[in-house]
Amino acid sequence: MTELVLDRIQFAFTIMYHYLFPQLTMGLALLIVALKTVALRSKDERYDQAARFWSRIFAVNFLIGVVTGIPMEFQFGTNWSQFARATGGVIGQPLAMEGAFSFFLESAFLGLFLFGEKRLSPLAHWASAFMVLVGSWISGFFIIVTNAWMQHPVAYRVLPNGLYEVTSFWGLLTNPWGLIQYAHNMSGAVVTGAFVMCAVGSFYVLEGRFADYGKVFLRVGVIAGLLSCCAQIFPTGDLHGKYMARHQPAALAAMEGLFDTERGAAIVLLGQPNQEQHTIDNPLAVNDVLSFLVYGTTKAEVTGLDKVPRDQWPEPLPLLFYSYHIMAGLGTYFAALMVAAGFLLWRGRLFTNRWVLWPLMLSFPLPYIANTAGWMTAEIGRQPWMVYGLVRTSEGYSKYVSSGNSLFTLLGFMGLYSVLSVLFILLVYRIVQRGPEAIVTGSSSAPITVA
């Protein structure tokens, strides 16, 4: 394998593994604030205890998110040094801002939130949870701004020495691509948080242990899940697709498996792209729908890959096609499940309906897969560019780092992250197993978990 391929695999592996954790951090932060808000207004002690229970899982999850996040910032320099040198003047900015505004905020308030409850008034403790939410969501924003500039570069100029520089700070932060992507991404994080909360809730209700808490989790989880799953499809997903069709037509064509430009293009629900024949094998397609989704009329012309020079096709194309279809398929399933669960909750029959509780309990891994597949769609769709239309991926990697070095560190990350997975599962399992009633407020034997 060449250095370039190994650099891509290492970045893909470390970022995909990393993002398993922040998506729950950001989603759960919102749900914990929701629990604390209900507790504050209703004075219902169960909601406070539920918030304490989730804050324990939050702490473990946050820790793994933080430690796997540190290598991300540094890998631009280690493995992508030519890219870092050319674009540091643009994307170094939001990355440094994440450190200055978000990490300090989180590290200060998370400690207060986890261990300061006895000392703080209920309102101040609510505020500390809220600041943790703000910190993690600002953090996400700066990362999306960074990625959005790579997807859709705006507000830049090229300096005489060939490096890129920002021309408008606000232009960079309000990149339209970034705003749409941020909405889609954050709602995706809430989907993960909601499904995880519903899964633990269903587990307690079905098992008949801590069923009171299970019902609290289900109520909050299903409402958040219903709202976020719908927002994921419309308006955020819809907007994202339309914006992509206009600015990255090659990516959209590859995602949809559209080899030939067509009027009234069909949408392929299932199939396998055949790159040699430029067709879809075993297609299950619906006529005209793609044109309608992208342009709002069934007769519109959608650009296919035939209009894109061969050296600008996203690679690997089939993986892009599958990523997108897995994301979209799972998103549809989430919305259907949450609509059913929401309806039963409204009718007061959710807690006894095993036909919905079982899927809710078992589905929690799927949002992780959908979020990962969504990011793979965005990142493979951008290929072969590192910065769309400006810097090719093959021009971005570190020339002087040999492929042997990259493979060594890739294996190192794989080994280390395997250990992290085992620790994470063990610790979260213990928390869920012991249940919400085992947690005592700010007891001095509590772990010093200030991530």
């Binding site: 820790l63 933080v66 870092a84 003047g89 440094a96 590290s107 490096l163």
Partner: protein
């Protein structure tokens, strides 16, 4: 603009070393000073609510370096590839050790994470010391501003050095000793009873080591790089910095004799800060010197980002740092006072 950003990055590095330095030191000292399970818990709790905020200075400093001097970031991080990756792994392991130790009530579990805490803290001090010494000594930069350094070498300096040679080893030893001393003084401030006595006892021996290595470091640096003192000779007023370093070293031991731990710790903070500033003064206006030809040095003007980036950066950087300082004052105020067996992190 280059001058400002050079010193802003330097200040962030100083903040990182002074703050994270003491919790690294606590990690190195843990097996030496902690006699009982309770001691180990107290030592961990003495850094519990602050260590992660301290580490944020490294991340924020790295980000600032990235956008202010992209060439330096790209060149140094890819050139020190393997060493930097090992540092990242150590940071991950150390965070796990600190945060997960108390999660499970098993002796084996806790002993394992104690060992990990010690080893990762020790090796991080070694790598940070070596990194600084590498920057001072210089690296074999190519025409395009890149280089690649092997981790191991024949231990000689020269035009084609490696990351670890006799000179950078002195840097590692000095970092280990100085951060351990810093950690011991911090523990003397934050603890009481036997643990405080033990920490105070360790200060004397560590201080001797730091003194020796500081004195060894100056001639070694001049041997490794003959032009080290050029900036000092051209403006002799700068010699105040090494004089001040000696004063802070004297201050550490003076206040230690009077058992005034707070002032002794403050002197240690100043010692670390002044040592780094002294090195930065010697480097200026270079960011990463070449070990072969000074025309290839990465200088401020070569590596600096565009003017608009830096102007805007100054605005939000100042704002962000004000917020960071406020958080730090709040967190350290809530966390003030001695750690005891029964007292929680926030005084409850």
């Amino acid at each position: 603009m280059g001058f400002i950003w050079f010193w802003l990055v330097a200040i962030m590095i100083v903040a990182y070393v002074v703050l994270d330095g003491f919790d690294l030191g606590v990690g190195i000292l843990q097996p030496l000073l902690a006699q009982t399970e309770l001691d180990r818990q107290v030592m961990l709790r003495s850094i519990g609510p602050v260590w992660d905020g301290n580490e944020v200075w490294l991340i924020a400093g790295g980000g600032t370096l990235y956008f202010a001097f992209p060439l330096l970031y790209a060149s140094a991080f890819s050139g020190f590839y393997l060493a930097l990756m090992i540092v990242l792994w150590l940071l991950i392991l150390r965070a796990l050790a600190i945060e997960l130790r108390m999660q499970v009530e098993l002796n084996v579990w806790r002993t394992f994470f104690d060992g990990l805490f010690f080893l990762s803290s020790l090796l991080l001090a070694v790598f940070f010391g070596a990194a600084l010494a590498n920057v001072i000594r210089g690296v074999p930069l190519g025409e395009d501003g890149y280089f690649f350094l092997p981790l191991w070498t024949d231990w000689r300096t020269g035009s084609h050095p490696g990351i670890l040679d006799w000179y950078t080893l002195i840097g590692s030893l000095l970092a280990m000793a100085a951060l351990s001393l810093h950690g011991a003084l911090y523990l003397a401030v934050k603890t009481e009873g036997t643990l405080q006595q033990q920490s105070r006892a360790a200060v004397r021996r560590l201080w001797m080591a730091v003194l020796l290595l500081t004195f060894a470091g100056v001639p070694a640096t001049i041997m490794a790089r003959h032009d080290t003192l050029a900036n000092y000779y051209s403006s002799p007023v700068l010699f105040a910095i090494p004089v001040a370093v000696l004063l802070t070293l004297a201050g550490i031991i003076h206040y230690w004799r009077q058992q005034d731990d707070h002032k002794s710790f403050a002197c240690s903070c100043m010692y670390l800060g002044l040592m780094l500033i002294g090195a930065a003064v010697a480097l200026y206006p270079r960011l990463l010197p070449s070990s072969e030809d000074s025309a290839l040095d990465i200088t401020i003007s070569k590596a600096l980002s565009g003017p608009y980036t830096l102007r805007v950066g100054l605005v939000w950087w100042a704002f962000g740092m004000c917020l960071a300082v406020i958080y730090f004052v709040v967190v350290y105020r809530m966390f003030r006072g001695k750690i005891t067996a029964t007292r929680g992190e926030y005084g409850d």
